[in-house]
């Protein structure tokens, strides 16, 4: 891992820490209030705040996880930096696509 990847991984980790706490709090709130999917969608649709919150969360998670996967591959598989890097980029893009699709689904659908 280079210093550039290190900063991106630690930076996204620091960014995700409060986001995870808010996300978990939201889950507890929604389940304890017995909210239905329709109740939740009614609050998230068209919300710039929730779109921004989960959009940032998804981007940070995709970057963080793909750098982590790259490290795992370079250490525990025969892949070298270049091959592991490409695998990580593909993995990150898949995560990004899936995550943003979910964000669009709850905010714009």
């Amino acid at each position: 891992m280079t210093v550039r990847l290190y900063i991106w991984q630690r930076g996204t980790a620091a960014l995700m820490l409060p986001l995870v706490l808010v996300h978990v709090a939201v889950i507890f709130y929604a389940t304890r209030k017995g909210m239905t999917a329709a109740d939740i969608l009614a609050r998230t649709r068209g919300s710039v705040v929730w779109a921004s919150f989960y959009g940032v969360f998804v981007c940070a998670a995709a970057i963080h996880a793909s750098i982590g996967l790259r490290n795992v591959l370079t250490e525990w598989s025969p892949l070298q930096d270049r091959g592991a890097g490409w695998c990580a980029i593909v993995f990150g893009l898949v995560l990004l696509m899936l995550g943003l699709r979910a964000v669009f689904a709850v905010v714009l659908a």
């Binding site: 891992m1 280079t2 210093v3 550039r4 990847l5 290190y6 900063i7 490290n71 370079t74 250490e75 525990w76 930096d81």
Partner: protein, 243 residues
Amino acid sequence: MSDPQAELTVALWRGAAQGRYETYRVPRRASQTVLDVVTYVQRHLDPTLSYRFACRVGMCGSCAMTVNGRPRWTCRTHVSNVAENGRLQIGPLENLPVIKDLATDMRAFFEKWQQAKGTFAPSRTRHDAIEQIKPDSPARIAADAAIECINCGICYAACDTVRWSSDYLGPAALNRAWSLVSDERDSGNRARLAAVAASGGCHACHSHQSCQEHCPQLLNPTASIAGLKRRTVAAYLKGELKP
């Protein structure tokens, strides 16, 4: 069954990468070290046994081996502290190619010291006045904490990251780099920080702390590597490092 109080049962690695443990009977002595045991085998039982040692007093770092599964300096390891029911298993250091028996090829270990720019780069010539360094300055304290390495290779053999990544510089080379980064008299930090910030450098460390756990000099290479991480991140954010 031999008496473990009078005799040791010693399994020694014989061969190179392909080899086997062979068992020898060695008389037990008072204040006997593991190096004494190996030397006894070579001088009295099998003169073809290959191993490496020099000073016998914990200064040269030559005699490190794997003793009952842990890397240790054998000249300062008492048999009474490590023998289990009178049994010892002694092998070559891990993470280094075996030349023969207990002797490993340490070229990669020392080449990584060079890759990490572990050579002092003076900032003054012999014609300049000697620079005054306060022993209690934070930088000097940081350098002193890392400086007593004897190049034994024990941290390198104990390191999981070295085992997984052949290009990882390893705890000893990075610890050396940190001692120079902290040295106010040194002028080679730009190249040194670039070397340790590249792939295989300090950011590959997982902070498992095996180096600290096993270091016979009680150094803390993990802390040195953490220091390098901080310095390289700061240098990168200031635009002083181009990865």
